[in-house]
Symmetry: C2
């Protein structure tokens, strides 16, 4: 999403490459499968399995920060839920990662106008020293300005960047806001800053609910305390800075990395009748940030995949290929579940028929794009035709990236879709305490289930494949 | 607002009473004063003094819980601001009240599904014992149901009432929500409950920002820990309760009454040229709840009154009567500033020409009503005529209550207005962390200033009075 020009260019390259091997037989979807997909679509639009799943997850488990006390509870919940929905195989695969913990977080303007600030520590932020970190604020208008700054202006200070995100349907402004959150802290640290603050990478201009999220800290020894202010608190800090006096802020963060943790991807298979070792894979991530209950991020994704698979499971007979649902471990702290899965299964990438993950909330899918071999373009068009009546446009020029964790399998060579959801309000609630069940519209969630049920089933029944092979889509520009 | 039928009935009584003494000369406003009021109105609509005042207060001071460290800072701010705006006299009057402090507050569902709850302690709530209060929830659909409950069903439990407030222009649903918050805790305590929880008395259905506010606890020895859940947390608790298993909640509140505190009403006079001892009084309250910065409640009210008075101050000559602005101390914990003022000045009530306080946010005024003597009804109609072009309707049947603190002077016999503001969104933010400057629309704030400048000036210049006298408006049904 952050690189549309590159995406278009490289998609053209894929198409050009495709023409050179056009002698292969085209992949097609049999008429009976199309008809069943239409039935699945219509049924899904009135099915509430997904809503019941995300309701159960957010009510019975709630926040699911990777490695927290709720991590194993969520895993047990997932295993039980997969089994209850009738998956033929339910299993887990280990995912090991650094354990980051958050215990408490406070912030305050110390001078010139003492008052508390509502903030949240960012992922992999170290804690502040005992008694907190008190330092002067130095403000930069952008990440680029910080990168260009003389370290002398930054040393010993708390860097603040106040970029204000705006709502867009495709959520592209998160490319800037999230980029500041990720790159800002290590950039400031490298210049000798004592700490880092940003205006939350979120579009809720009026809410005192700061947005947490990942930083790009790679080395704990080179990391500094980093936190996000809520939008109104950022407004307040900027008003105070506008008085032109030195502004001193105190950060008191009790958080940090505490060794390693081993979590698990939870995987369920509906085993294919004809080609059990060929897999259509869908999913979401089971972990969530801790302030909210992980409803839109990403209980919805897990629920959409489970809801779609359940409808396929309930058909009179198993699909031709295996339908796999993965509830990934620790997406939030750096795609740990997705990367572990891709490493473990890279050699089998050719057996992955098609895949994508849902991880942009619960808004309706409005666009599909795909990275597939040229001979499968017709099959994608067949899928698009079934999805068109429920509001999904097909953009044949854009690549398909596979979503968040499954982007890693796509990088290995798995044919993949991008199913763009309406993200207009997603970044109002993303990574905040407000990520709760009430943000999900059951009817919009059902539309997502319909989309996933349709493409999953049609790919599972296709005559032919979509081009998965080691390195098949290298450089297609998919940036999900 | 909670008793419209009573209000209409008693307003009729006032009118009936009026006819009996219609021989008095009518109060009228001279043509020159009407013309000046029109100029003030037009000027106010483009004046940003009030916005600058509330910006200054919320930025430089922020939260102003009565008796907190910010209480004297806010007082010094107010004294300096009154002086800077040119008031002829600036002085304070002491207000003594119980000091309630809030240090920390946490809540959690312990069983069957452990997870934290976002909540806020209510005013005058005692703290929980060391280690917190853990007890089973007993749910009631309404305050009436709690009142009717057998104490045996409540004893030792945490009472929960989940009334959901809805947005209305006049904010009348706060009569129910606020009533549960005030009466629910002592009612539960009297039946032996261990604690009290309610769904926040607020209309922000999707925000994790709980609404604090006052309880009706009168006796610390008979008080129990009481708190409000945010709306999404109330949804969550109700979903958990719907599983039909016993639900155990832990409250950990560090708060309570700590002796007494003496704060101050801050008062500024623009001294009348002809009748310096006759006063038109307007104001707001200087204290605020602590989670937010007290922008709409009630920085806006203080700012509106100061903005209006400043425009009158800047006229070529002082008004005939004194214009008084009061920034009241500790309205939030029980009208302490307003009651102290009324007690101190009850004997002079006949010298208070007319008054009202702004304390319902920063939405535009859409309606005026008045409790005045019948012979002053024509003068009120003259005021209404000047206000009509800026969207203010006049309801001659409803009484005027004087606002929150000044309701106490009205109870003593002061002629008073009610200036109804559009409160559609007021209870989204009221008493929450979200009560911040960004909720104020400068243009809507300016409309309020125009309304206050017009009526204040016209009342100050009137030929005749509005009927203030000891006990003059007893039982007029004003419930502000």
């Amino acid at each position: 999403m952050q690189r549309p020009v590159l995406a278009l260019l490289t998609a053209s390259l894929v198409l050009a490459h495709g023409r050179a091997c056009a002698a292969e037989a085209p992949t097609t979807i049999p008429a009976a499968a199309v008809q069943t997909a239409e039935q699945l679509r219509n049924e899904a639009m009135h099915d509430d399995t997904a809503y019941q799943v995300v309701k159960s997850l957010t009510t019975e488990i709630g926040p699911r920060l990777a490695g927290s006390a709720n991590d194993p509870r969520a895993r047990e919940w997932a295993i039980a839920k997969f089994k209850a929905l009738g998956f033929d195989k339910v299993y887990t695969e280990a995912v090991t990662y650094p354990l980051w913990v958050r215990r408490s977080e406070h912030g305050a303007i110390v001078a010139p106008f003492p008052q508390s600030l509502t903030l949240t520590a960012l992922g992999y932020s170290p804690g502040t020293p005992n008694g907190g970190l008190t330092a002067q604020i130095v403000q930069f208008p952008s990440l680029e300005a910080l990168k260009a700054a003389d370290p002398g202006t930054v040393k010993g200070k708390i860097v603040y960047i106040g970029y204000r995100m705006h709502r867009t349907k495709d959520g592209h402004d998160y490319g800037i806001g999230g980029g500041i959150r990720e790159e800002g802290p290590p950039t400031a640290a490298a210049k000798g800053a004592a700490g880092f603050l940003l205006r939350s990478a979120g579009t809720d201009a009026d809410s005192r609910t700061p947005h947490t999220g990942l930083t790009d800290f790679r080395d704990p020894a080179k990391s500094i305390p980093a936190a996000a202010l809520s939008n109104p608190d950022a407004d307040q800090l900027e008003r105070v800075l506008a008085y032109g006096k030195p502004v001193t802020v105190k950060l008191d963060l009790d958080c940090g990395i505490e060794g390693q943790y081993t979590g698990y991807n939870v995987i369920g298979d509906i085993v294919g009748r004809k080609y059990p070792d060929q897999v259509v894979v869908i999913g979401g991530h089971l972990d969530s940030w801790d302030p909210g209950t992980g409803a839109i991020d990403d209980g919805a994704g897990v629920a959409i995949a489970l809801g779609a698979a359940k409808l396929i499971h309930d058909l009179p007979q198993r699909p031709d290929r295996t339908v796999r649902v993965i509830a990934f471990a620790n997406e939030e702290m750096g795609l740990w579940g997705g990367r572990a899965y891709a490493e473990k299964h890279a050699a089998e990438v050719g057996k992955f028929q098609l895949g994508t993950e849902s991880d942009l909330g619960a808004g309706p899918v409005y666009q599909m794009s795909a990275s597939v071999k040229p001979q499968a373009r017709g099959a994608i068009e067949q899928i698009a035709k079934v999805l068109k009546p429920i509001g999904v446009a097909y953009d044949a020029k854009l690549p398909g990236g596979g979503g968040s964790d499954l982007s890693q399998m796509h990088l290995k060579g798995m044919a993949a879709l991008t199913l763009s959801q309406d993200a207009t309000h997603y970044f109002d609630w993303h990574h905040t305490a407000n990520d709760t069940l009430d943000k999900i519209d059951p009817q919009q969630l059902a539309q997502n289930v319909a989309v996933y049920a349709v493409f999953t089933y049609m790919a599972a029944q296709a005559d032919g494949d979509f081009g998965s092979a080691p390195g098949a889509f290298a450089g297609d520009g998919a940036g999900d």
